[in-house]
C-alpha cells in the first residue's frame, strides 16, 4: 500500500488517500489518483468558472462600479499595491504570475472549509510552486546579468562558493516547506479532532480551529509566499 504510509487507522483521517490506481506504471512507479488530484481539479474548475464569470462581467464594465465589479476592482487594486511595494516599475511583468499563484494558493488553503483535504498540504504541490519560483528567478538572473549571474556565486571570495550555491537552492525548498508545513499542521490538528473527540464536541467547537488553521494561517501563508516570490525576483532585476 504505497499511499497509506501509516498503518494505524487514526492517521488515515489526515493522510493523503489513494482513490484510483492507474492501470499502468510510470518509470516503474505506480500511478495513483489521490485526494490531492481530485481537490486540485475541483479548485481549478472553480477558479475557471470565476474567471469566465468575472471576465464576462467586465466586458460591459460601468464607469461607476457596483456590486461584483466593485469587488473585482478592489481585489486587483490590492494585488497591484502589493506588487508596487516591492517590484516598483517592473510590477507589470510579474503581477500576472503572482496573481495566478495567489488565487490558487488562497483557494487551496481555504478548501478545508468545503470539506476537501487542502492540496497545499501535499508536498508534491507546494514543491512544484517552489520550482516555478526558482525557474523564474534563475531565468531573470541569466537574462539580466548574463555570465555575471554565475560569477556572483564566487563573490566576495571564491571560498564562499558552496555556501552561495546552497543558499541559491535553499530558496525554493524553504518557501515550499513553509507553506506545506503550515497547512499540514492545520490538517493534522483538525483530522485528530474529528477522528478522536466524541461526537457532541464536533458541532461548533471545530469552527474556532478552522478559523485559526485554515483562515488565518492560510491567508498569512498565501501573502508570505507571494511576497517572498517577489522579493527573490526583485533581487535578480
Amino acid at each position: 500500500m504505497p499511499i497509506f504510509l501509516a498503518n494505524n487507522s487514526l492517521a488515515e483521517s489526515f493522510m493523503i488517500r489513494g482513490i484510483y490506481k492507474m492501470p499502468f506504471l510510470f518509470l516503474g512507479q505506480e500511478v495513483w489518483i489521490t485526494t490531492t488530484t481530485v481537490s486540485t481539479i475541483i479548485i481549478t474548475i472553480m477558479l475557471l468558472a470565476f474567471g469566465i464569470f468575472a471576465g464576462s462581467k467586465l466586458k460591459n464594465a460601468k464607469e461607476i462600479p457596483t456590486g461584483f465589479q466593485n469587488f473585482i476592482e478592489m481585489a486587483v487594486e490590492a494585488l497591484n499595491s502589493m506588487g508596487d511595494g516591492i517590484l516598483g516599475e517592473n510590477k507589470n511583468r510579474f503581477i500576472n504570475y503572482i496573481g495566478t499563484i495567489f488565487l490558487f494558493i488562497l483557494t487551496s488553503n481555504l478548501s478545508g472549509f468545503m470539506g476537501m483535504r487542502a492540496p497545499t498540504a501535499d508536498y508534491g504541490v507546494t514543491f512544484c510552486l517552489g520550482i516555478f519560483t526558482f525557474a523564474i528567478v534563475q531565468f531573470q538572473g541569466i537574462k539580466n546579468h548574463g555570465i555575471g549571474h554565475f560569477t556572483s556565486l564566487f563573490q566576495p571570495v571564491p571560498v564562499l562558493f558552496p555556501i552561495n550555491l546552497i543558499g541559491e537552492f535553499a530558496n525554493p525548498l524553504s518557501i515550499s516547506l513553509r507553506l506545506f508545513a503550515n497547512l499540514l499542521s492545520g490538517v493534522i490538528m483538525l483530522g485528530l479532532w474529528y477522528g478522536m473527540m466524541p461526537i457532541f464536541t464536533q458541532l461548533a467547537i471545530p469552527s474556532f480551529l478552522h478559523a485559526y488553521c485554515d483562515l488565518f494561517s492560510g491567508c498569512i501563508q498565501t501573502y508570505v509566499f507571494c511576497m517572498l516570490t517577489m522579493v527573490y525576483v526583485n533581487d535578480k532585476l
Binding site: A6, M15, R178, S185, I220, V224, M227
Partner: protein, 84 residues
C-alpha cells in the same frame, strides 16, 4: 516480554519525534519578541497600526519556518517510518 528490533526502532523514532519538537522553542521566543516590539511600536505611533501589524505578521511567519522544519521531521519519523 521480548522486544524485537523493529519495536525498538519504532520506539526510538517516537522519542526522536518528541526531541525534534524542541525546535519549537526558538520560533516561540522569536515571535514573542516580535509581537512585543510590535505592541510597543503601536503604543508610540498608533496611526501606523496597520503597517506595523502587517510587517509583524510577515516577519513572524518567516521566523516560524525553523519550528516547522522540526514539525516536518517529527511527522516523517512518526508516520513515514524511514527506518522501519
Amino acid at each position: 516480554m521480548g522486544i524485537s528490533g523493529q519495536d525498538f526502532i519504532y520506539g526510538c523514532s517516537a522519542i526522536g519525534a518528541g526531541l525534534a519538537l524542541i525546535a519549537g522553542i526558538g520560533p516561540g521566543v522569536g515571535q514573542g519578541i516580535a509581537a512585543g516590539y510590535g505592541a510597543s511600536a503601536v503604543g508610540r505611533n498608533p496611526g501606523a497600526r496597520s503597517d506595523i501589524t502587517s510587517t509583524m505578521l510577515l516577519g513572524q511567519a518567516v521566523a516560524e519556518t525553523t519550528g516547522l522544519y522540526g514539525l516536518v521531521v517529527a511527522i516523517i519519523l512518526m508516520f513515514v517510518k524511514p527506518f522501519g
